[in-house]
Symmetry: C2
Subunit: 114 residues, 2 copies
């Protein structure tokens, strides 16, 4: 597999490139929280346990730059902002589901019950 550069960063494989878009603690929970359609910022924050405003805003900005989510502001009082998945991000949902299923399989193997 040949290495390649993108935006000044070196990648060794397509897997590593994919993880740049969905990896880390918060990106997958955010993408899953948007799976049913546009969600207001406040509702998004409530739906992801443990995430701070600072972390959610940073991750949403990164996801927006990576064309994984769109941000829509409504001229309302109080201001309203919705976030939604792009087509590119919707393609990630099946991968995230596969990871979720594998995690559940490993939890069973390790006899972890919730």
């Amino acid at each position: 597999m040949k290495d390649f550069r993108h935006q000044n960063r070196l990648y060794y494989s397509p897997v590593e490139f994919a993880m740049n878009y969905i990896g880390g603690t918060w990106k997958m929970p955010i993408l899953v929280a948007l799976r049913e359609g546009p969600v207001r910022y406040g509702d998004l924050k409530k739906s992801i346990s443990h995430i701070t405003d600072k972390m959610l805003i940073t991750q949403l900005r990164d996801l927006e730059e990576k064309n994984m989510v769109t941000r829509k502001a409504y001229a309302e009082k109080p201001p309203r902002v919705d976030y939604a998945l792009t087509e590119r991000a919707k393609q990630a949902l099946s991968v995230i589901d596969a990871l979720h299923a594998y995690g559940a399989f490993l939890m069973k193997e390790e006899e972890i019950t919730l």
Copy 2:
């Protein structure tokens, strides 16, 4: 989704738990390199570009502790050690393939050609 603890570490989701087994730069390339059956240490090292002995040994030990690979030493001169996937690890290959396919999709979207 309820949090849960395993070996003194807190997890927020099964996805996070799965990434503990296959995440990071080197675990997935190692698992993929073992996909066709047992491989000798030296051949494994050669088949994964950029990996150092120190990194490969550390990752193999971690994967062994997580029951993802088995290590078999042969009483030969020079000594010979083979590594192989466990059943648990073989279940990860389809997830890694899905990540690889998503990464290739994103590379096409970003017009990255090798």
